[in-house]
């Protein structure tokens, strides 16, 4: 069975600062490849600046890649420009739940309008009656009481907004749901509710998830496999168990050690600040300089993501 989503050699490069010769090239995403099978939940972890938000937008076809292929159900959806993807029939199959519920609502749209809009636009020909039924059903699925539907965003609590956020993304029953830090802005008690909800929805609707987060403890709860990114590149991928119990990349190890309460040793710590993502040297490993290990080879040859000898893939010359 072919994968639902296949991303190959995806890159997004921005031109920054100045024009012409003085402009730098910001490598937000640099030659990454991964795939998601039907019904699978893949976690994408990394810290700020690693490119995960850009990956979200590339896969969701909100922006166009500079290079590489985004294949959905066997079709190259990168061929349709982002500007026109809104009218493509495949738009309904990939939806996104964004992080900040406050910013992602039109303040003049009621919860009902927000959930109904994708149904109206992506499922043309539904009658108003049919729409109302489907909005009610979706609200029920996410545990949103019907009497909250006429409310405006500023009349809803954080947890209620999170539910509306999810409702409008699943209103057209997408096959792939991308979750971009869906619980980061929520209190921990509300987060627990939403995480349960997301797990239940996946089981009930059979969706695949791309779950993007910086919180490893949360990602662990909902995902089967993980992809770890750093400065635009994938440094390690594997099952959740593999990554947590036997991280192979120094960055992954530092990430896990940094979780509060984790029993670990400080030799894993990274020093200094990340190198600049603008015009990075293609021959130097992105972690070089901060990495507790660091050999000559690390600044002469960019390590490639590969699995050697059966262990999960890692991009490091001297994996642990």
């Amino acid at each position: 069975m072919s994968a639902l989503l296949e991303v190959a050699n995806l890159a997004k490069i921005y031109s920054v600062g100045g024009t012409g010769a003085s402009a730098g090239l910001l490598h937000a995403v640099d030659d990454i490849s991964f795939s998601i099978d039907r019904g699978e939940s893949l976690g994408l972890v990394g810290e700020s600046g690693c490119g995960k938000s850009t990956v979200v937008r590339l896969v969701a076809r909100l922006i166009d890649p500079t290079a590489g292929v985004v294949c959905f159900s066997g079709d190259d959806i990168g061929l349709v420009p982002a500007r026109r993807f809104g009218r493509d029939p495949r738009r309904r199959s990939i939806q996104v739940v964004f992080q900040d519920p406050t910013d992602s609502f039109n303040p003049r749209f009621s919860a009902y309008d927000t959930i109904a809009e994708p149904i109206r636009l992506l499922d043309r020909g539904t009658s108003a009656e049919e729409r109302r039924r489907r909005v009610a059903e979706t609200a029920r699925l996410v545990g949103l009481p019907e009497d909250l539907l006429p409310r405006l965003p500023h009349q809803l609590s954080g947890g209620q907004k999170a539910r509306v956020n999810i409702a409008r993304a699943i209103a057209v029953r997408p096959e792939l749901l991308i979750l971009d830090e869906p619980t980061s802005a929520l209190d921990v008690s509300v987060q627990a509710v939403i995480l349960h909800l997301l797990a239940d929805l996946r089981a009930e609707l059979g969706m695949s998830y791309l779950f993007v987060s910086h919180d490893l403890n949360v990602v662990r709860l909902l995902c089967q496999r993980l992809v770890v990114m750093y400065l635009g590149k994938i440094v390690e991928t594997g099952t959740v168990e593999e990554i947590f119990t036997a991280p192979r990349h120094p960055y992954t190890r530092a990430l896990i050690e940094a979780i509060p309460g984790h029993e670990g040793d400080s030799t894993a710590m990274l020093s200094g600040e990340p190198m600049s993502p603008i015009d990075p040297d293609p021959a130097i490993c992105r972690l070089y300089g901060r990495c507790p290990l660091g050999h000559d080879r690390c600044r002469q040859e960019m390590p490639r993501l590969e699995d050697r000898g059966g262990a999960h893939p890692v991009a490091c010359h001297t994996p642990l």
Partner: protein, 321 residues
Amino acid sequence: MALLEVENLAIEFRTRGGTVHALENVGLSVDSGEIVGVVGESGSGKSVSAFAVMGILDPAARVTAGRIEFDGTDILTAGERKLRKMRGRDMAMVFQNARGALNPIRTIGQQIADVLRCHKFGDRGAIGDQVVAALKTVRIPDPETRAGAYPYELSGGMCQRVGIALAMACQPRLLIADEPTTGLDVTTQSTIMDLIRDLVRANRKAAILITHDLLLAEEYCDRIVVMHAGHVVETASTAALFAAPRHPYTAALIASTPRQDTRLAALRPIAGSIPDLRADLPPCRFAARCPRRIERCVNEPLPRIAADGDAGHVTACWRPL
């Protein structure tokens, strides 16, 4: 004799929607050399408590009861002049939005120098050296050059280090850190928290860490004060709190916080939501959400019950676990 003693503090805000009873009967104490964590969700009143200690409450706030004593000074009755002398010198604060707390049009060196000069701290002639020394204590590399940098040139983590440098510049006895690492990467978070802990321990200072992250408090605090909807529900040493939480809310909070080994099924959400603080509230503000609620909870004022054998572990509950 505790360095900071807050007793029976009650604060309300007058808003157009009614009076918000933000804090009621809030008490905590901090000794020199210890780090006390104030843990709670949004709306629990933890930041308001910190602002009250610093004397920087919003003008709409009214302190209706209570006492705040810092190093012998009564904060609530001391005049603004006295408080201004104390802020930065005896007690200081590190804020959540690190970049927002810095003046964008002054270099970080100038800002640290401002604090030193304002409190006439140290040798006037050697301010430049003092600034570099301050940057060194927060482990900013290349401090001589960095002193001339503007906040926009620095990363979030670096800005927070500068924030800590500003707070510690005059060697205050109490440091209050209000969600100092929220919004920072987890690798940066651990280095910043390690830095705060090292600085506090090295100089026998007292610190209050305000956070919604239970695991962070567990790792860095000696004692923890748990707040819910403007009440202190439980106070205990960190070890005792996590080994045997006594208030139902504390237990529920712990149960809804994902740890490394938590399974999704074991993650328990807390029923209900924070009550509206403008409404008429029962004596226990958690009662509506509590599975152990009894008649006394909504009729009688809350008790403070110490655990057997541990006088420092106090719970405001009629049916502690």
